[in-house]
């Protein structure tokens, strides 16, 4: 990489750039914390127990829990017992959303969690490894009086993971088991206003279906969707960030093409980082408001995955290009050992995501965690991805260690070098240290905010204002990595000042015999700037 802007900038300018970036950073946090509502909302639904009296129905009938045309309801199953209604005639109906409300495309996604209320009975306990077979249908309509249109229908199996915390005695009959939440449904777009879920738990003693699942009292669902307000703020942010990154990217690449030499690897990688950031920024989600694109959730995952793997690759290559160990790199193939785990790990996560969210495109009730084989497969993918991540970080740490070792080695020999070579190495050291510092800060910020958002209940009250910590986390961290990429492209772009500096290239030509790397990484020697001198002094001390 040629003498970058960062080396030639005066301290004052660098500070100004830093302050501007910090202001934008604070702005990103504030947008999330003060304007946006919390990112997601969870709504409780208690399934209404409807009675289906017709034995063998030709067409599917949809059961509404309330409103006009509501079904025959029963309150409790004791009532059903008295009326001699069988389990197969009971339909659990849930209308999403609540009465008088309607869903909106701004909600982006909708996922539903299932919970059973199962009462403990001495003689009717949940058997070990009990499986529930759920016959579920999902329908939608867009006006309150229209007909329901079927959207999906499936027969799903879910494993009941329940335990009874108190002693299993007659005394404690009627207490509820504590059951794990069951993943139930995931829809990648909310294009319709009203949704209706009809759930049946058919019993077949011969085939051992739904036998030994205890005495079910109620079915509860929790519907989660992104808040419309958060989506709007998020889109606005993306729409603002896209042109900023795009412009700096074009500017960056123009600078590189203006140079006489072909771009080096690091410059290409920085461009790729910019492209992947733009890819994630482009607000294609705007289309999800108008179109019913269920794959948007999956697409979002893929975009994030590409960006993360690009960022990780960038760190490795940046370290490698600053190793200063006199070996020619500048080729992508040199880094296969380090980049390999990243590619392999993200590929594993991609396969996993395709197995979960990909299948959900056709069957929203599918869950890879529902079956034993699926759980093992999913765990296998995640563990392999985890191992890859560990491997990557070992490589990265080792490389950073090598760079620091070389830096301390070079420092001792710096005063003895020729001016051009000394400046070259000082530039390398400064560039590396700067990026190292910024990267560590960003990573630390991400981790800290992640922990805060996990531990915290989601919002802080500050006088009259409510600060949405989770929203601030999302917009803040997203803005931060954008600024990070922006800053890298700006500061590590080749400097203007080398133009017309023929003498310096000649100087390097003379020295290149003993230092091959110089040809790839340095083409300029200019009067050192203040900051340059400063770090140079530091390095000598």
């Amino acid at each position: 990489m040629a003498g970058a802007i960062i080396e030639n900038m005066s301290t004052k300018k660098l500070v100004i750039v830093g302050v501007i970036l910090l202001l934008f950073q604070a702005f990103a946090f504030m947008v999330g914390g003060l304007i946006a509502p919390s990112p997601t909302t969870a709504i409780h639904y208690l399934a209404t127990k409807c009675v289906d009296t017709v034995k063998h129905r030709q067409e599917t009938k949809w059961f509404m829990p309330w409103g006009p045309n509501q079904c025959d309801k029963i309150r409790t199953f004791d009532e059903a017992m008295a009326k001699k209604i069988e389990a197969n005639n009971i339909v659990f109906a849930v209308h999403i959303p609540m009465n008088n409300k309607e869903m909106s495309p701004w909600f982006q996604f909708m996922l539903v969690i299932l919970q059973f209320d199962i009462a403990f009975k001495m003689y009717n306990q949940i058997e070990d490894g009990a499986l529930v077979t759920i016959d579920v249908g999902l329908a939608y309509r867009d006006d309150t009086l229209g007909e329901w249109t079927e959207m999906a229908h499936s027969i799903e199996k879910r494993k009941l993971n329940c335990n009874f915390t108190t002693a299993k005695t007659f005394e404690n009959e009627g207490r509820y088991y504590e059951c794990d939440l069951l993943p139930f449904m995931e829809v990648g777009s909310v294009a319709h206003k009203y949704y209706l879920l009809n759930i049946r738990l058919p019993v077949n003693e011969r085939k051992k279906i739904n036998v030994g699942i205890g005495e079910i009292k109620d079915i509860r669902l929790v519907g989660i969707h992104q808040n419309g307000g958060f989506t709007k703020v998020w889109f606005a942010m993306k729409t603002f960030l896209t042109p900023s990154i795009l412009i700096i990217m074009i500017w960056y690449w123009r600078r590189i093409t203006l140079m006489s030499r072909p771009p080096v690897l690091l410059e290409k990688v920085i461009l790729a980082l910019g492209i992947s950031m733009t890819f994630i920024n482009i607000p294609v989600e705007w289309f999800s408001v108008g179109f019913n694109w269920t794959w948007m959730l999956l697409f979002g995952d893929i975009r994030q995955g590409i960006f993360y793997s690009m960022l990780l690759s960038f760190w490795i290559i940046f370290c490698g290009e600053h190793l200063m160990d006199q070996t020619e790199r500048n080729r992508f193939s040199v880094y296969w050992k380090q980049v390999g785990p990243i590619v392999f790990g993200s590929f594993c996560l991609f396969i996993f995501d395709m197995c979960e969210r990909g299948v959900q495109l056709t069957n929203p009730f599918y869950s890879i965690w529902a079956s034993d084989v699926g759980t093992e497969l999913a765990m296998a993918f995640i563990i392999v991805a985890g191992i890859c991540a560990c491997l990557y970080f070992l490589f990265l740490c080792f490389m950073v260690f090598q760079v620091f070792r070389n830096i301390s080695g070079k420092r001792t020999s710096l005063p003895a070098m020729s001016k051009a070579r000394r400046l070259h190495y000082e530039g390398l050291i400064f560039r590396f240290k700067f990026l190292m510092l910024v990267t560590l800060t960003c990573a630390a910020m991400t981790v800290i905010f992640f922990i805060i958002s996990q531990v915290n209940e989601g919002h802080w009250h500050w006088g009259e204002h409510t600060v949405q910590v989770n929203s601030a986390f999302f917009t803040g961290i997203y803005g931060m990595w954008n600024l990070y990429v922006f800053a890298i492209m700006f500061l590590y772009a080749p400097s203007h000042k080398r133009y017309g500096d023929e003498q310096s290239s000649g100087d390097i030509g003379a020295n290149s015999g003993e230092d091959i790397q110089l040809t790839t990484t340095i083409t300029h020697v200019d009067g050192p700037t203040e900051i340059y001198k400063m770090t140079g002094k530091e390095a000598q001390e």
């Binding site: 509502p37 919390s38 309330w66 309150r75 069988e86 003689y123 009717n124 207490r175 205890g214 979960e356």
Partner: protein, 352 residues
């Protein structure tokens, strides 16, 4: 028209006279004849409500079915929790539902008030979740709701609405008296303690749904505990209830523990003013005081369900009875049980 008006006045008068017992609204549980409470007319025909409660009923008719279920839930849970005690929460077919047992400021009264306030909050919240009610978490009368509406930031939890409704409906009797008698203070405190039993036992549940299901995005919500658990909590508070008396601190009247060596009660504890009677004998002057004659008891137990204590020292008689029990049953998850009948001889002890 005039006839109806007169009738209404009489009803109101009845209500006013009977309002001495603030848990009269529990009588709603016994009103199965009314059917579902659908229109404002029905509100006036409901016995057991005071005028202000009738107003609330008219204002939010849709909630009243839930309130009635709440009353039933309170009575059922009370009977479950007190099944082994001398006073077993038996109800009468007349008003007041529990007879005169809860008219005094006893521990039992404290329990009844707490469980009924909690049960209304519980039943209303459940009705919200099943979509029967229109306002609920999105109601602007409930604090904590976002002004921007459902599409922007969703609604607040339904429990907030349930608790707020319980506060307005159940507490209105004490507040309407316009005085801070020690009994009103006790009832208000116990009502609040009952609701706290739900609020402080809400379970936090979370779901991760970030990239590939990671916890990058996590949504948490609070789930209501099962009512049996609420009942157990309030029963524990009953066992450790504090006897209090009214004292004036500054210009306000507060309840403080009668025994100053006890540490002061918290918001979640039950308080009572008068010691309980022993509930041993039938008392015709006190409706609801049925005594323990004929109650079953446990011979081996040393606790309150043991024959010694249950029968108040009167002794007990033992019978050999043949019990037809269900055994080797086959169950479906709902509504189907196929059993064999097993007969066995059991010793049954009843109080004299």
């Amino acid at each position: 028209m005039t006839e109806e008006y007169v009738l209404r006045c009489v009803l109101m008068l009845c209500c006013a006279l009977l309002s001495a017992n603030a848990s009269n609204w529990l009588y709603l549980a016994k009103l199965s004849s009314v059917g579902s409470i659908r229109d404002e007319e029905t509100c006036e025909r409901l016995r057991g409500l005071i005028q202000r409660q009738v107003q609330i009923c008219k204002r939010s008719v849709e909630v009243m079915d839930a309130v009635r279920r709440g009353a039933q839930l309170a009575i059922d849970e009370c009977q479950f929790q007190f099944r082994n005690r001398r006073w077993n929460c038996s109800t009468l077919e007349t008003m007041p539902v529990f007879g005169k047992v809860v008219t005094q400021g006893t521990r039992e009264a404290a329990f009844v008030y707490a469980i009924s306030a909690a049960s209304v909050a519980f039943a209303v919240t459940r009705a919200c979740s099943s979509g029967e009610l229109e306002k609920c978490g999105c109601d602007h009368n409930v604090h904590g709701v976002s002004p921007e509406g459902f599409q922007w930031s969703g609604c607040s939890d339904n429990i907030a609405y349930g608790v707020a409704f319980s506060q307005s409906f159940v507490d209105v009797r004490e507040r309407s008296k316009g005085q801070s008698s020690s009994r009103a203070l006790m009832n208000l405190h116990n009502n609040e303690a009952g609701r706290k039993a739900i609020l402080s036992h809400m379970r936090v549940e979370c779901k991760c749904h970030g990239v590939s299901g990671s916890c990058e995005v996590k949504t948490c919500w609070k789930a209501m505990p099962p009512f049996r658990k609420v009942g157990n909590v309030i029963k524990e508070k009953f066992d450790g209830a504090t006897e209090v008396e009214q004292r004036k601190v500054g210009s306000t009247k507060v309840l403080v523990p009668r025994n100053s060596q006890f540490k002061p009660h918290t918001d979640e504890d039950l308080v009572y003013l008068d010691p309980s009677p022993d509930f041993c004998d039938y008392d015709p002057r006190t409706p609801g005081m049925l005594g323990t004659v004929g109650r079953q008891c446990n011979r081996t137990s040393k606790a309150i369900d043991g024959c010694e204590l249950m029968c108040c020292g009167r002794g007990f008689q033992t019978q050999e009875v043949e019990v037809v029990d269900r055994c080797s049953c086959k169950f479906h998850w709902c509504c189907y049980v196929k059993c064999k009948q097993c007969r066995k001889m059991v010793e049954m002890h009843t109080c004299r």
